[in-house]
Amino acid sequence: MGSVYRARDMHFPNVAKLVAVKEMINLAPDPLVRQTIVQNFEREANILATLHHPSIPRIYDYFSHNDHSYLVLEFIHGKDLEAVLNDTNGFLPEDQIISWAVQLCDVLAYLHDHKPDPIIFRDMKPSNVMINQNGDVMLVDFGIAKTFQSGQKGTMIGTEGYSPPEQYRGEATPLADIYSLGATLHHAATRRDPRLEPPFSFAERPIRRINPNISVEFEAVINTALQYNPGDRFPNASAMKEALINVARKTGALSKITSALPVSSGGIKPLWSFKCEDEIRGTPVLHQGALFIGCYDNNLYALNAADGQFQWKYATEGGIVSRPLVYDNNVFFGSEDYRLHVISARTGKVAWTYYTEGKIYSSPRIADGHIFFGSEDQYLHAVNVSSGRAVWKLLSDAPIYSSPLVANELVYFGTESGSFYALDFRGETKWRFQAKRAITSSPVNKGQAVYMASLDSTLYALDAISGWAIWKFRLGKGSISSPALADDFIFVGASDGFIYCIDARTSKEVWRFRTENQVGSSPVVYKDSVYCGSADGFMYCLEYRTGRLRWKFETQGPITGSPAVFDDIVYFGSTDHHVYALFA
């Protein structure tokens, strides 16, 4: 336990000479432990006193007082690399990291060449690397003398993620410092803290996959330093320094040339497109070769899915944003004209309509001979599929824009006041959950959990039966996007512009992908890709395990609806009035 103070050296009363005073408080009850702590402290002082290097702080004095011991050291204006990493957004430039790496190799070489015995720093990590005002590095904290004790359980040395595998065997060699330097550089280049990852897992996080701006050559140097077998690493710090300087020469990193990797979007031609008379904000559905999609020109369109040929349209008296549903050769969909329309999928002739007291944005779901949907009139409606008569309706506390989910013999939906309901098939409330803001997102279900997002910037996992929050995941901003599921992953968009992938079991973020505007569209998973639109006008296709961009396709307006993918073709509408079909 200890602290570091900034102090003024009063031996020089006329000038402000700042020093760093490092305090150690010795609270160990065991006398043997106390003694070891004091010895370690004096050891650090003695080591420092013999060292003279621009990257090692000078020592002025040390003393002990009761349980407290103090080192008086050169004060370094600046902050440590860990703080630098935490305080920067995005990645540090490669040339910056290389120049620090060269200096660190330099100081390690100095320590390893120390006579009579080499000094092994043993604790290379970002928080022990200070960056001073000039941007030069200083190595601090020589106090950790780690020795390996085997036998007893809990020899926890080197858990910090920067230590090499051989440390567990009690070996501390110059090559261990090389490994830790590699780990430090890996952290600096990728911003992935190895302390939060399994030990020795750097190979599982290839640098350039995380930060494509790093050159192949620099990545190779870091990888060499991180080799599992000490013999496969650089033989010494000088060799590593040389390799780094070669990288800098080859890539021109030191002359600050950065390469950007633009992703082309011009290459993709739609299979077909179809122009409506107003914005399309809804989601299409496919049924027997026909594509049904609602439009703000009040029409529901039926198009030939193969070539986009117009088949028929059906006019309502309001915009259509809900996703149609095909059941028993009828198309069901709600409209802003307060009605649920049921029309023949073949001819577009009306079968029946059902009135509510408000606009319908919620998409219908059918289960057990009933059709369920919400309305702006705050009711969740349950209507008999064949007769078109209301079976029951439940008054919620706010307009319902969320589409109900029917699973586990319950009907789940959210409301604009942030309530989330689970009703049984008789319309009785089984449980209710309260989010802090509106739930426009439509729930999805897997096993015994339901997932939905809220405008309170949270993605929720609730127990499907009891309504308990199993976990919450913080999104950058609110979301109206409905989650999609594949394997153990959950995908959801948010208005911070990101498409997120979350592990459903652990609620840990797997990846996030940045678009240029809000993502209100709901992702769709097909094969090994996730498809999602953004208000930046693009439809994105990402590899779903890694979030890597496969392609993106530009439309002339925000995409708020979700795609439908069938037979390797992606169908979606855009507010640029067009329906598009692309090869998946």
Binding site: G154, S201, I470, R505, T506
Partner: protein
């Protein structure tokens, strides 16, 4: 009422069925078996109830018991009906002297206390305010509180923790170290739910050790994560369904290190009740040499 008692004490009735499933040892499973497994996992709305038992032994070769165990079984007020509630924690302390015991004991108490505090109104009153945190957040804050306590009060020591919060038909598990949680299914599958945070496991995952080499690896007892150790602690926290028709088993390495999955299943199945099952598991570990402290907690959902 008779029905209720049958549910409560009826484990024997199920036994023949389980034996049938188990006797078919050949892989792959038949469609029927798969169907029965899937059917068993269907969500049902019957009133469920938890029962649990624990067993402990210092083992044959240690002088002190550094393991700790907690089992708390109740129901809590749910929306319409009461929901089964259970908290089960196994902790295996380390660090020599008396400190291992301090660490494991503190861990179970602090986790137990923290969870009980969060659920206090659900457990003992009718809640007027809903719980603000998610179940995973409750478990995470409990682990962190215990971590900080051990760092403060027993520096240098550490403990494994495997804790399961069962609520309704799901369980949220928080795990650090090399104690384990198993799902024991009626068809004989014994699924390890947790991943050991041990050096040997890590080296095995990386392909640097074969299974045989791992068996004889000298540093089998070196953990790479433990409660009370390290600047940052990241526990594995996840939520999975309670094994339908089966058992949740938590244990320290004193059990799993010497008794294999098959024997664990056999012992659990053959025991007339949970208490005897726990006792027999402990006995089996001692019969195998009892090299370490042994702790088991066994949980079943009935009804």
């Amino acid at each position: 009422m008779a029905d209720f008692f049958r549910k409560l004490f009826g484990s024997k009735e199920d036994t023949p069925k389980q034996e049938n499933a188990d006797s078919a040892t050949t892989a792959p499973l038949t469609d029927q078996q798969i169907k029965s497994i899937l059917d068993n996992q269907n969500v049902k709305y019957d009133m469920k109830q938890l029962i649990a038992s624990v067993g402990q032994s210092v083992g044959k070769q240690r002088e002190h018991n550094e393991d700790s165990v907690l089992a708390l079984t109740s129901t809590i007020a749910g929306g319409v009906e009461s929901v089964p509630f259970g908290l089960y924690v196994v902790a295996d302390g380390m660090g020599g002297h008396q400190f291992g015991e301090v660490a494991s004991n503190a861990a179970i108490r602090i986790i137990g206390g923290n969870v009980a505090r969060k659920f206090h109104s659900y457990l003992y009153h009718l809640p007027t305010q809903s719980l603000q945190e998610s179940l995973q957040e409750v478990m995470e804050s409990s682990i962190m509180e215990a971590h900080q306590y051990v760092q403060r009060e027993a520096p240098g020591s550490g403990t494994t923790v495997t804790a399961a919060l069962v609520l309704g038909q799901q369980m949220t598990i928080a795990h650090v170290g090399d104690s384990r949680a198993y799902a024991v299914y009626p068809d004989g599958r014994v699924e390890t739910l947790t991943r050991d945070h041990s050096l040997v496991k890590r080296l095995e995952e990386l392909g640097h050790l074969s299974k045989d080499e791992a068996e004889s690896f000298p540093h089998r007892n070196v953990l790479i994560r433990a409660l009370g150790q390290g600047e940052t602690l990241e526990a594995d926290i996840f939520t999975v369904p309670f094994p339908q028709g089966g058992y949740l088993l938590l244990c320290s390495d004193g059990l799993w290190g010497v008794v294999n999955d098959k024997d664990i299943f056999r012992i659990v199945r053959e025991a007339p009740n949970l208490h005897r099952a726990c006792q027999s598991l402990v006995e089996a570990a001692n019969a195998a040499g009892g090299p370490d402290n042994i702790t088991v907690a066994l949980v079943q959902q009935i009804g």
